[in-house]
């Protein structure tokens, strides 16, 4: 029990102040540090490390951000959104070290507009394939009870090994041989005696358990705990036994060092390396394939538990799917080099939908979509854009967001475009159809043909349909 320290009124006040409640910056992603993110001019850090602060507009015009001194208006009043990150409140040069945080702040807003939860990563090939198809089952949110572990007591740490995401020890799968040797020399070797004690306790627990079992079987009196003593010979024998049993020793070492679990070995590996017994237990951890995440698996991006809800359209009623979002085609597909297209969705780079889909057809004749993805059209104003349907997102081991999108269906696209002020489809006689199927093209289809799946730029009267209704396609 700690006695509450008496604090002066000013001190108590300061503790509740906004400056004091700013969280300390978190360390950057190890990959960012390794690459220095200087390898590319356009590279961005994996995740934000500093709290974004904002201020009222009236105060912003005066440079007042609640910091030590008013910030220069020239650099802080240009942006529409008042978002800054402060690296240092005062430096020895007598300045406040800050930079704009609009990039990350707006990315967060855009992501939250997608209304998708962060899920436990599932990077198996089967799940990726399923993601592209319609058989994409919803994944579990990281905030579900069976995967959201932030404070665990030592007893449950071993039991929850397959579910939790935070471990004291490193993930061996991500270490280079040099790093491994260094880690062993520095952190593991000095703990030999401690490990012996750990094994001794384990052995004592085993012996006690077997004694209890024996007593139960023979209907004898329960043995007393004090009577259990493990001699050095017993321990040496136990060590010998462990050395010949790789699974068991891995388990013991893993428990002792709290190592992040490794991926289950493939069948071949099992045959060659683990021939004596079955696969090592406890390999079901979702982070075993690529290592545990450096941040919380939600990274604070979204706190939603699910996206399984119905969207209601004011005219058409409940919708089967959520509204699609416009994705920017960042990199077209290169069929010869087997390089897939990359999209930019809500500020994140995502892979184009995998498998044989409408936008990614291997065999069908190139649709407008295919053209859009197939080559880089430099004449297209604003770049090529496509309607996509984000299905799920998760945080990978480096702290980056990996999102999975699929193609938006034609109806979804038409409804979304109408909501954006595009062509009116409500009240038209025929429902919107695929462009190949109909010979009489609606205005919407004409525009879609010209601009691919992207919306018209609406930069001239013609695109607004104001040139006498004559479309010159």
């Amino acid at each position: 029990m700690s006695v509450a320290r008496s604090v002066s009124p000013g001190g108590a006040l300061l503790r509740t102040s906004r400056l004091f409640s700013l969280p300390a910056p978190i360390p950057p992603s190890p990959t960012d540090v390794a690459n220095g993110h200087y390898g590319s001019l356009t590279a961005t850090p994996s995740f934000p490390t500093h709290q974004v602060i904002t201020t009222l507009n009236s105060s912003r015009q005066r440079g007042d951000w609640g910091l030590k001194r008013p910030l220069p208006l020239w650099t802080t009043t240009k942006s529409t959104n008042a978002m800054l990150r402060v690296k240092k409140i005062d430096t020895i040069e007598d300045i406040t070290d800050f930079s704009s945080a609009t990039d990350q702040g707006l990315t967060l807003r855009k992501f939250q507009e997608l209304n998708i939860p962060l899920t436990v990563p599932d990077n198996t090939n089967e799940s990726l394939r399923a993601a592209a198809s319609n058989m994409n089952l919803p994944k579990r949110s990281v905030f579900e009870k069976d995967s959201d572990f932030t404070a665990i007591d030592s007893v449950n740490m071993i039991a929850l090994k397959d579910k939790r995401w935070k471990f004291q020890g490193p993930w061996l799968g991500g270490m280079s041989p040099g790093q491994f040797a260094k880690w062993v020399a520095k952190s593991v070797r000095p703990r030999r005696a401690e490990f012996r004690m750990f094994l001794k306790q384990k052995l004592a627990a085993d012996v006690l358990q077997s004694a209890i079992q024996r007593a139960l079987d023979n209907a004898e009196e329960q043995p007393e705990i004090e009577s259990i003593a493990v001699s050095d010979e017993q321990l040496t024998e136990y060590l010998r036994h462990l050395r010949g049993n790789p699974h068991e020793i891995y388990e013991m070492v893993g428990q002792f060092l709290d190592l992040a679990p490794l991926q289950a070995p493939t069948e071949t590996e099992q045959r060659t390396q683990f021939s004596e017994s079955g696969p090592p237990p406890g390999l079901g951890n979702p982070y075993s394939a690529h290592g545990p995440p450096v941040t919380h698996p939600s990274a604070g991006l979204s706190y939603l538990r699910t996206s399984e809800y119905l969207d209601n359209h004011p005219l058409y009623g409940p919708q089967a799917s959520h509204p699609p979002v416009l994705a920017r085609v960042l990199r077209p597909k290169r069929q010869n080099l087997q390089v897939d297209a990359k999209f930019g969705v809500a500020g994140f780079v995502v892979d184009s939908p995998g498998g044989d889909t409408a936008s990614n057809s291997k065999f069908r004749s190139p649709t407008p979509n295919g053209n859009l993805l197939g080559k880089l059209d430099v004449d297209l104003e604003g770049g090529a854009k496509m309607w996509t349907q984000p299905t799920r997102a998760s945080i990978n081991a480096n702290g980056r967001v990996s999102m999975i999108v699929k193609d938006a269906r034609a109806e979804e696209k038409a409804v979304a475009q109408e909501l954006l002020g595009g062509d009116k489809i409500f009240g038209e006689a025929s429902p919107p159809a695929e462009p190949q199927a109909t010979s009489v093209l609606t205005n919407a289809e004409k525009i879609r043909r010209k601009y691919g799946q992207g919306i018209p730029s609406m930069s001239n009267a013609h695109e607004y349909g104001l040139d006498g209704g004559a479309f010159r396609f």
């Binding site: 006040l13 300061l14 400056l19 009236s58 030590k68 001194r69 008013p70 240092k88 005062d90 430096t91």
Partner: protein, 382 residues
Amino acid sequence: MIIRNIVLRHGRQVIVASASPSCCVRALSTSTAKSATTATAPKGPTNVPSFFTTPEQRAKIAALKEQMDKVPDNFKEFRSIQKKTGKIGAVTQPRHLPDEMLKYPPHDATLEMLMAAQAHMGHNTSLWNPANQRYIYGVREGIHIIALETIAAHLRRAAKVVEEVAYHGGLILFVGTRRDQRPIVVRAAELAGGCHLFQNWTPGTITNRDQILAQGKLRMVDELDRDVPGFDDHIQECRPVIPDLVVCLNPLENYPMLHECGLANVPTIGIIDTNADPTWVTYQIPANDDSLRAMALIAAVLGRAGQRGQERRHADAEDGVITWETPSDVRRFVQNTLTAKAQEKKDQERQSVEQPAWGREMVESDEDVAKAMKQLADEEGI
């Protein structure tokens, strides 16, 4: 919102129902009341005066009366709905006014106000002056945090100094030479009835004031700050004045001024951030000197203190209590003038009968000065 509209509508009905007929019916109702009390009114089916003769008119008036009878009920209903729905809807919260300290200067700074004004944020810990250690509460985010209680205590002490200097008729100079401090010092000087300086201090303005301030204008005022005539000769002779108290918002940039104040024995009040030297000023106020909000708050409190002092001084002067002494050079001038006048009169009336009695008196006290000045004024016919 909908309910509110209903209330509005009801209210309008009531207003229309009550207001539109009332202008022409008021006389009628009073007349009926009068007739009822005097019991001379005709007991007919309607108590409409007889000059409304046609049936149409009578019907119209009856309708109006009927409408009038509804007014109390309508009004009651309006009030009941108003009572039920009055609390529905948005409540306007007090808004943050960035210029609050300039528009509505506070008389005292609470700890909350000081913290909100960022007064507690010191400089980077590497930049500190160890003499400020006693003001520092701790280190946070790489900067020193100044204790809020210390700021408040020192601010109150400084406010007391300003108030008493103003009460004793002293001249207070507010100095803030950073660019954005201009409105702050002007407002504080305006409140305290002092002077302000927002541009560079010309070195020597105190020590070499005979040269630098030679063109400055001087006024001679009485205890109620009214101009006193008859001192033109003296004003031409006397030296430029120096302030009796200097309040400096940024001592770091104004060391020459503070040094001159020290040489001239002028007390100074200064905002001491953790990197400033507290020995440069007489009365320190440890606070963040970079934040304009903190500066505005502190200057406003000091300005208010000066205002209080001036008000007290004027109130006492009205009651005949003068809280300041006439400077010795002024007193000497008055003495000399009186002597010269007496001499002149004596010369003029050398052959005459008597000398004026008052010329022989010595001018010693402030009352004497006042009396002598009054006599001078009377003599000159002013």
